[in-house]
């Protein structure tokens, strides 16, 4: 089983410092191209939030040799799929196409890396400001509890801390971007030295290398990459905030500042989350949803980024149950866990779930290429599946208890989403 996780790859850097990883898998006639730019909402400034995400949209608006709308069209015409996404730390773009079209994808990706600015226009910007405003309305403002996350994180982190604002940005910022902002952002972050390119699937090594060199080799780095300099965040006191929303049931959110992605405690906190809410037998699920039936749902997770992480618990009460009742029960269970420890069965269940999910994740080439890129960017080693599983296998019951003590005894933010009115 471990064999399929030990992936073989070739890695090299171009002269302009573009990082390239090639991973061959010929089981289907498909090739996936996945590129990470190491820029996310954390790299934005106050007043210009959401720019990294807007940029993800702008990158589909064409470049010097690719007319507007044609990026999508060419990939679709070839039978491919494509998209991009923006997180707090990175922006990724990915295409998966029949293997006969690798060159076209590299042409498209390199054109927007090297020749984006000549094709930029006010009209395109205005159009995408409209689209992104509607994305914000659709996926945040018009969704039940849709504004909870930005409220939670903007309370957890101080105003100037890079994780304070949502990746999509504040609406007033979205509406006010100008062309100069977009140009500056592009020059600062969208350069070969700030990117990592993974090609996965059905291709020949020599040809792929040649193509990458030909299409990306001449792209120059315009400026130094602005570095993020921040002190680790600290919550000096526990905070409770209330957000009114057009919902039937209230919802409780609890958040603690925790360890960063791939930090020493990161996997331990993942296991803790799984032991609390990962299955029907997990501590909080069983207590709140089965024994007492006071909650409709409960979930816990470790949400970790480059700078730090947050450990989060979310629960929705059954109609008529007060949030304080849920909160009290959650803390009772955490305290009980600290006293009673973790059973071997609990630990085995969690670790096995993580292990098999690694194997299942290999089914989809897009996912696989993205995970390889994640390892390359975070760990500087694309072949890290076995290392990553090892992080979970190594966790002991004592580790779980000690991270619970270390993080969950600290100050925290409590958010209550409350229904606007009684129905």
């Amino acid at each position: 089983m471990i064999n399929v996780l030990n992936i073989e790859y070739e890695k090299f850097k171009l002269n302009n410092n573009l990082d390239v990883v090639l991973y061959q898998d010929k089981s289907l006639p498909i090739v996936a191209v996945n590129i990470w730019y190491k820029v996310g909402s954390a790299n934005e400034q106050k007043g210009k939030t959401g720019l990294a995400h807007l940029f993800e949209h702008m990158m589909f608006q064409g470049s010097e040799h690719v007319p507007k709308e044609m990026h999508f069209r060419y990939i679709q015409e070839a039978g491919g799929t494509l998209n991009g996404s923006t997180s707090i730390d990175r922006t990724n773009f990915y295409e998966s196409v029949p293997s006969t079209n690798l060159e076209m994808v590299l042409w498209l990706e390199s054109d927007r890396m090297g020749y984006f600015l000549p094709a930029l226009s006010q009209e395109k910007l205005d159009n995408q400001i409209g689209v992104v405003s509607n994305e914000r309305r659709q996926n945040y403002e018009n969704q039940p509890y849709g504004l909870a996350w930005e409220k939670l994180f903007s309370t957890l982190y101080p105003e100037n801390y890079p994780y304070h604002w949502p990746t999509i940005g504040w609406m007033k910022d979205i509406e006010n971007y100008n062309l100069e902002d977009v140009k500056k952002f592009f020059n600062a972050f969208y350069s070969p030295q700030n990117a990592s390119l993974v090609i996965g699937g059905n291709f020949e090594f020599a040809e792929a290398k040649d193509l990458v060199e030909s299409y990306f080799g001449n792209i120059i780095n315009k400026t130094e990459i602005p570095k993020l300099n921040v002190k680790p965040p600290k919550l000096t006191e526990s905070n409770k905030v209330i957000l009114k929303d057009d919902v039937q049931l209230p919802r409780l959110y609890l958040a603690w500042i925790s360890d960063k992605a791939y930090g020493n405690d990161d996997a331990k906190l993942d296991i803790l989350a799984d032991i609390l809410t990962g299955s029907k037998n997990s501590r909080l699920y069983k207590k709140l949803l089965i024994d007492k039936q006071i909650a409709q749902d409960v979930s816990a997770f470790q949400y970790s980024g480059n700078l730090n992480g947050a450990f989060i618990i979310v629960a929705t009460p059954k109609p008529g149950v007060k949030l304080d009742v849920l909160k009290k029960e959650i803390f009772n269970q955490i305290n009980f866990l600290l006293k009673s420890g973790i059973t071997k069965g609990e630990l085995r269940r969690s670790v096995n779930s993580y292990k098999s999910s690694f194997i299942y994740s290999l089914q989809n080439l897009d996912n696989l290429a993205n995970q390889i890129n994640n390892y390359n960017c975070f760990l500087n080693e694309p072949n890290s599946f076995i290392y990553d599983i090892g992080r979970y296998e190594k966790v002991t019951g004592k580790d779980v208890i000690s991270v619970t003590e270390k993080y969950l005894n600290n100050n925290f933010v409590e958010l209550n989403v409350m229904p606007n009115k009684k129905n």
């Binding site: 006969t100 042409w107 405003s133």
Partner: protein, 448 residues
């Protein structure tokens, strides 16, 4: 190598792709098995599917099939609900139970090394569900709360209201999740009865995709299912669905940040002859990102994050639906633009559009067989719609041979301008005046 950025690089050669070979066999008790061997990873997926869903819910008990799917994995054989879940989780297997309009399914995804245990658990769930009263009460309560929560979700409100408009008095009128008052009335015996009447050997198929040889598989499934006996399933009589009446409908959602739109009509079933022509036509109209409707509303006007159209098929009929969420102040204009596109496509389709859409649909085909669950879902499609085993093998050929005239004909015959229902879900103050202008004031208002 030298490159020329000014021209799009050409495709290099043609891809070779072999569709999976479908094998069928039947167990001694009559249970049908469909199997595809897939070896690239040490994984196996079993999907058990019965041809019964919310269309089989009795009147006044809408939500019964869905509740049954919530309860089916709450204890089986010697395991109670928590023991059963512990068994599955400890194997690292993933169990999924679901119900839709036409089908009821239970799937387990397992590592090859845990194949025997996973299959054994699946067979226990199918053949010896416990349906115990405390579990019933808990899951029913969960479903009631879920129905309550869905009142918050504008997409759900729009889709379920539109379903009711299109399917009126057919059993398909209700969304699978059901209604609060109906679910309140469901009793433990109803779930047991639903299961007995519908989840029967003659009404079910076990789909298997994975790393296993057929002989080993035959032995294993025979061993796990040979004790299972059932009666024949209860047949369902369905009336024909009547055509859609052209009307404007409105649902008020206080303070909504956007308007959800659904525009469409009842259409032909999956098996009707012009399926391929309709598929290409829809792809041009709204079936993918570079379609007319999305490029108009999103990339030209910036009114929306996305707009699309699709054919939604059930076993007995189908519907054509345009869906989008648009900025409230542009609701009327968005409806007009969509109606304009529906009229336009009946008049003119270019060769470029046809070539693009055919290329898109044909060349992406291999990617639809990438994951184990994708292959299993494709096989389940064959079962629901009674498609022939050579369906996948002939799919590309069938798309290729459709010509432009047939596509235009499909537009004329399927986009029926006098049968278009239009629904908007949004804030009354902003949206209603816009609808009134379009409809000469004749708007039917619905409750959530």
């Amino acid at each position: 190598m030298t490159i020329d950025r000014a021209t799009k690089p050409k495709e290099k050669g043609k891809i070779k792709f072999h569709l999976p070979t479908i094998k069928r066999f039947t167990l001694s008790n009559g249970l049908k098995i469909i199997f595809v061997e897939k070896n690239n990873l040490p994984i196996i997926q079993f999907s058990f599917i019965s041809q019964a869903g919310s269309k089989n819910d009795p009147t006044g008990k809408k939500g019964l099939a869905y509740l049954t799917s919530l309860l089916i994995d709450e204890g089986a054989g010697k395991f109670d609900a928590l023991q059963l879940d512990d068994e599955i989780e400890s194997l690292g297997s993933i169990l999924k139970c679901s119900a839709d309009q036409d089908s009821f399914s239970i799937s387990i995804l397992s590592l090859k090394e845990n194949l025997k245990k996973s299959l054994n658990i699946l067979s226990l769930i199918i053949t010896q569900p416990r349906f115990e009263e405390p579990d019933f009460i808990r899951e029913k309560q969960k479903l009631l709360t879920k129905i309550l929560q869905l009142r918050d979700n504008p997409e759900y409100i729009a889709s379920s209201a539109f379903r009711k408009i299109l399917y009126k008095d057919s059993p398909y009128f209700s969304s699978t999740i059901g209604y609060y008052k109906d679910v309140e009335n469901i009793k433990p015996e109803d779930v047991k009865e639903f299961y007995k009447q519908n989840i029967t050997i003659d009404n079910s198929t076990l789909v298997v995709v994975g790393k296993i040889k057929i002989d080993e598989l035959k032995n294993l499934v025979e061993k796990n299912f040979n004790n299972w006996e059932t009666k024949e399933h209860k047949k369902l009589q369905l009336n024909n669905i009547t055509p859609t009446k052209a009307n404007y409908y409105f649902v008020h959602k206080d303070g909504a940040a956007q308007s959800q739109l659904r525009i469409g009509m009842i259409s032909k079933s999956r098996n009707s002859k012009d399926f391929y022509a309709r598929t290409i036509m829809n792809s041009i109209l709204g079936g993918q990102f570079s379609s007319r409707i999305n490029l108009n509303l999103r990339e030209d006007k910036g009114f929306t994050y996305g707009a699309s159209s699709s054919y939604q098929y059930n076993k007995h009929s189908g519907s054509f639906i345009v869906s989008t969420g648009v900025q409230s102040v542009h609701t009327g204009e968005s409806i007009s633009e969509i109606l304009k596109e529906l009229k336009e496509i009946r008049k003119n389709i270019t060769h470029d559009e046809v070539n693009f859409s055919k290329s898109y649909l044909i060349k992406r085909y291999p990617a639809l067989f990438e994951t184990y669950s994708q292959v299993a879902s494709n096989l389940m499609l064959l079962i629901i719609h009674d498609l022939p085993d050579n369906y996948f093998d002939t799919y590309i050929e069938n798309l290729e041979k459709v010509n432009s005239n047939e596509i235009l004909k499909a537009a004329k015959e399927n986009i029926l301008l006098d049968q278009i229902a239009i629904l908007a879900v949004g804030d009354r103050k902003i949206v209603l005046p816009q609808l009134e202008k379009l409809s000469d004031g004749k708007i039917i208002e619905l409750e959530i």
